[in-house]
Subunit: 321 residues, 2 copies
């Protein structure tokens, strides 16, 4: 059993990553205005957050720029408009989504305000992901490999994949519960597998959880208790479908005095409630529990939400077909 004294002390190796612009952007097509993003940036600094993900750097060859807010493409210029040269303790991240990115969009680190390139990949895309990681690493960035949809990966494949990731120059390997289907008891087991490879190859571990079964926070602190150091969260849980681990819950839990609750609550009060009032919808609901329970992609539940349906029984029957 993990010891309660760990709850009073803290590990200084823990990092909190704000993924609001990126995962939250999936809810509003990345249409955050500059005032919001500047306030979020300032809040992260004040709250002691370690990294702020500035969105995706999606390829304009794949997505029509006119249909999305700029944080889907998050160029160095977009970022500089918010942060200048970012002379702060807050580091900046962007995400490259494998198959929807373009290596040429990433300049040398020395020319960029970005510190960390997070590479999101399904396991079958690993070779392309590792190519991207190597490119970003060689350009001078910190890198992470965010292995999505873990609950659909067979354990044999996971071992093979972690061996490949381990041999890459990546700094941090992420456990991503894309479907919110993992229970804390399973999370402990998953972390054990990842930890074996992290130790062998001297990598750090991260966790990115979804809230389909109201377990995003519980799984995050389970993983944290099991030794995972990089913890993703979003303000008011804003993120695709049922959303993510709530920043306000995570900062409340962590005992390192550098983390501050008040700026988090202030930002929620002044900015996040406004998004909700504008009708932007995310967060735990019965339809997301259903896809989580059945270990399915939430796209059907997102459509159900968009259509304002409440015929849960019909929906569940369809999912079980």
């Amino acid at each position: 059993m993990k010891q309660v004294d760990k709850l009073l002390g803290y590990r200084s190796s823990i990092k909190v990553i704000d993924a609001t612009l990126r995962d939250g952007g999936l809810v509003n097509d990345f249409f955050f205005d500059d005032e919001f993003v500047k306030a979020l940036y300032k809040t992260n600094i004040d709250a002691g957050v370690d990294y702020m993900e500035m969105g995706y750097r999606a390829s304009k060859k794949v997505f029509d720029e006119s249909k999305f807010g700029k944080w889907k493409f998050s160029s160095d210029e977009h970022i500089r408009e918010i942060v200048g040269e970012n002379n702060t303790n807050l580091k900046l991240a962007i995400m490259a989504d494998i198959g929807r990115h373009d290596k040429d969009d990433f300049d040398q680190k020395v020319n960029s305000p970005v510190d960390l390139v997070r590479v999101a990949t399904y396991i079958h895309q690993l070779p392309e992901a590792l190519d991207m990681i190597e490119d970003a690493h060689n350009k001078g960035y910190e890198t992470s490999c965010n292995l999505m949809a873990l609950s659909h990966v067979q354990e044999n494949d996971l071992h093979a994949g972690l061996e490949m990731i381990g041999q890459s120059p990546v700094d941090t390997i992420y456990i991503v519960d894309s479907f919110g289907s993992i229970y804390p008891e399973e999370m402990a087991r998953v972390v054990n597998i990842f930890a074996e490879f992290a130790e062998k190859y001297n990598k750090k571990l991260g966790i990115h959880a979804h809230n389909n079964q109201q377990l995003a926070f519980a799984n995050t602190i389970e993983a944290c208790g099991d030794g995972v150091d990089w913890l993703d969260a979003t303000y008011l849980s804003m993120g695709r479908g049922a959303g993510n681990c709530a920043m306000e819950l995570l900062i409340g839990f962590l005992k390192n005095p550098k983390y501050k609750e008040l700026p988090v609550f202030k930002f929620i009060e002044e900015y996040m409630i406004g998004l909700k009032q504008k009708g932007i919808v995310w967060g735990y609901d019965v339809q997301y529990l259903m896809t989580g329970l059945l270990n399915q992609h939430p796209r059907t539940a997102i459509a159900f939400t968009k259509d304002k349906r409440t015929d849960y029984v019909e929906f569940f029957k369809d999912l079980m077909l």
Copy 2:
């Protein structure tokens, strides 16, 4: 580490207790109409729920009967109007809240449709609670002792209290996280303490969780994984403040084939959504996270909710005074 194979198998000793009428009643002053209660009763039977709590049996000497729905008083007559002689596998429970109950309101079991009397008590009320338990036991009821506000109980007092409860004729001892302040890691430790006394005195253990930090379900399955058999839940989490462990999450988690998800979703669709639409408010929100985080009674957060306030920063500052 708990083993993943436990997640596929099941313990037949597990019991699910529906506390919707009782804890949910705290949200709408127990004004559930008979159609709702009959549908809930039928749902519990169809879903394989083991016990249905039919409300409080509060003393009419303490509470004005005209100000509450009948499920605050839940007489044998009220219950019979719903269940007849209850010739089903679903057992019925009522709650006696120490200091607000009257032993004389409890007839001999042989004359009552009630199977289980749940005695809710703060630790300083234990002698009165044990008196009530003994009375109910002698009348022929199953009994449980629901030790509230556990997070305010010093460990020495807890040991002394569990020793007293152990020596009583009570069947089941409940861990009650009234303030939603306990993390799963602490829950595991708490269960260990309770289990020591449960084993010594041959008692069963139960868990009743609140969702202030989105941990009601996580704490319930943590406790379940640690050997706790009696699991409280409410439909759509309906309960005081942030609400309880959601029945739909719990039934989804449990693998005993007697538990069925579809009736649960049907009831939510046909009845629970209607309560929400009528403006009855419960469930996780930032103000409840705050009282949970600070290990405080949720009454201030309930007032904040009622006043439709969103000035979280001011509220949090007040809580920290």
